[in-house]
Symmetry: C2
Subunit: 467 residues, 2 copies
Amino acid sequence: MAIEDVKSRPRDSEATAKVIDLLKERFSDRVQTGEAFRAQHAHTTTYLPPQLPDAVFFAESVEDVKAVVKLCAAHKVPIIPFGTGSSLEGQINAPEGGISLDLSRMDKVLEVNAEDLDCRVEPGVTREALNEYLRDTGLFFPIDPGANASLGGMASTRASGTNAVRYGTMKDVVLAVTAVTADGEEITTAQRARKSSAGYDLTRLFVGAEGTLGVITSITLKLAGIPEKIAGGVSSFQTLEDACNAVIMTIQMGIPVARIELLDAVQVKACNAYSGLSFPEMPLLLLEFHGSEQSVAMQSEQFAEIAADCGGSEFVWTANAEERAKLWKARHSAYWAGRALAPELSGLSTDVCVPISRLAECVAETQKDVEREGFLAPIVGHAGDGNFHLLLIFNDKDPGEIARVEDFTARLARRALAMGGTCTGEHGVGQGKKRLVAEEMGGAIGVMRAVKKALDPDGIFNPGKIF
Amino acid sequence: MAIEDVKSRPRDSEATAKVIDLLKERFSDRVQTGEAFRAQHAHTTTYLPPQLPDAVFFAESVEDVKAVVKLCAAHKVPIIPFGTGSSLEGQINAPEGGISLDLSRMDKVLEVNAEDLDCRVEPGVTREALNEYLRDTGLFFPIDPGANASLGGMASTRASGTNAVRYGTMKDVVLAVTAVTADGEEITTAQRARKSSAGYDLTRLFVGAEGTLGVITSITLKLAGIPEKIAGGVSSFQTLEDACNAVIMTIQMGIPVARIELLDAVQVKACNAYSGLSFPEMPLLLLEFHGSEQSVAMQSEQFAEIAADCGGSEFVWTANAEERAKLWKARHSAYWAGRALAPELSGLSTDVCVPISRLAECVAETQKDVEREGFLAPIVGHAGDGNFHLLLIFNDKDPGEIARVEDFTARLARRALAMGGTCTGEHGVGQGKKRLVAEEMGGAIGVMRAVKKALDPDGIFNPGKIF
């Protein structure tokens, strides 16, 4: 299903074959051209059709990355950086062929500076592996997009997730990256200091660039102290507006909530079925508080008052780890719970983000649109950020339905835009949202293109994405 | 005093005269060429010698900015954006002449979205004016670099200051900017949503670009709720190491301190004399806590324990607004208190930032260097960020002393670099730190240059800065 045409350059098969030969000569079986490998590296958790690379190269060091970049640059062959393949907008597809640069073997935690609450990791380290590594330090890495993504990938798509309302997004926790640029050399975008005014913010230029400006080879990350206490709970609301109002009041009062997630009735029903829960099939807020024993109690009580004011069900909070784990497991399974509603159909996961004051309105209008179209589309949102997801369940064999889904997602994005929002809060642009981002950014797209051209004049880095 | 040679292009006097004539024709007395105006726009709170623009243009609207940019671009005449002139590294100097673009009349608060905790302002609004405007909303703008700088200027130098340890720097609170680029058109870098993955992070590319990529015409800012309660206090320490250890423990324990400032004995002495205080002439920490009544009490008590553990004097905290105001007025006068130590001499204010675990070591080594050189140089730092300032008092008429000051600041920067730090935490590069930033960034400077060239091919925006 083509949400938009990908403007492909003709592949230069000869150049690609040459690069593959040279790589094989040097790296032997770390270069793979079999269809299974290639298909696996184009298979994304997305509705977009896979576009296979010509080969997969497994990098094990910065020197490997430099070598492949130099070779590909010399022959103008595309490089598609690959972490775990969990991106949602076709970021790892290879519309012009080329080399999928698999970074999953670069999975070392290079340093942990506990005193400074930071660490440096290779791009293939996943967020769960990092947290496992940190287990005895009293520190943790808070960004949690759901999937066990690689940190290189998370930096590249500017990932965020449930904890972002308190701990920020990848833009906030990445202190620096090293990256191999088009000349095959490695640059360091910043030092380990907490702040700097030393020239352009190249760190944040690479964060969110989706691998189109170079290959990230290490990431320096801020860490957080594991909270002394974690508490959480749920509250059901009669209407979405009520639930959203509770979120707005929570944020406005400055309650430092760690997670505040909104599920609509359809999603609650799906989660009940999938995870064996029995929440009322009404809009639900799912919360988590981090802090001292005193502080989480205070936060929980403050929220309970807000929930009551907004007509929510009694907010019962618990610091019991098992109960909390069950809740969040259900939240993390929301995507699969949605897919399980109609396993024979396809699913398109899309996201938008609006100023929080417009969240209720945007969700409500979107629900009406869903009803009008007769779609099945559970909604789940990082409500504290004004960010919500829609999982459109549809038949990807039916061209008419595909067209309706395209129109629907475009309307959703334009609805968000009209409210001062963005067509993607955290999934990125990839192939799927190029047209919508162009609408959103207007003239600023020209500036992005100029930056791209300046840093990657031959367009070898992840072509066909963002623009 | 030339810390480094500015590579000047020859001025094209004819082109400049032409631009000035055309501007005068259209804008009459909003174009000024008298020496008083020009000198005022090159006079900075810096040790660098003023370099006057050829004319000053007072913009009153985005249309004005577009007009002057189009004209200057057509004739390749430099434009130097000007806010209040409080930058510290020669950012507003005009080494190649051209037009100082004074934005101080663009001083409207364009919108306040209290529900979303954000606002949009013109670049000439100062931080104090914004907070005055917000007085009745229950919100405030937290970034406080000391000077009453314009928000356009603060964005451009990626300013921070005393509150950054809790509220972040300009990179964290700017949600979006509009900017006029080299083609004379205005772009919008992002929407009002709290987060976005819609392509390259142009917002943070303009934040910290020091006016070298375009002219910021509005800034969308995150605001914070005025805390229910503010408390603060001081504690004196036997040694710098003890004071720094108290800071490290505070940050590691996750106490959400709003301000934690370090003054060395020399600075304490200067502040005592200048502000009529009587602190022991020992290293001093000055703190502020924001939160609920309960929370500031808890934070204050936690810090008191830490201070005691680190051998600090008894930490007496107060929520009395008058007492706090006196303390922070003294802190904000630190620069002038330092200058008052030897009013006949010149002062060079420089800053570095290191990982917090290295702060004590970096400050102590720097103090030894100061002693060796026989300089007078009070130290004051945003200790929670690992950022500190040195005010070097020196005779700018003595070439030998100038050379010693240059060598000293270079040693300071390299000391910070060797500890994983940066040569500037918040003052920016301007003219003064170009050589040091080049050392710090290595190959990344090439990427910055490529971005600059892509966005400003004729080098009209604030030439001679950063690079």
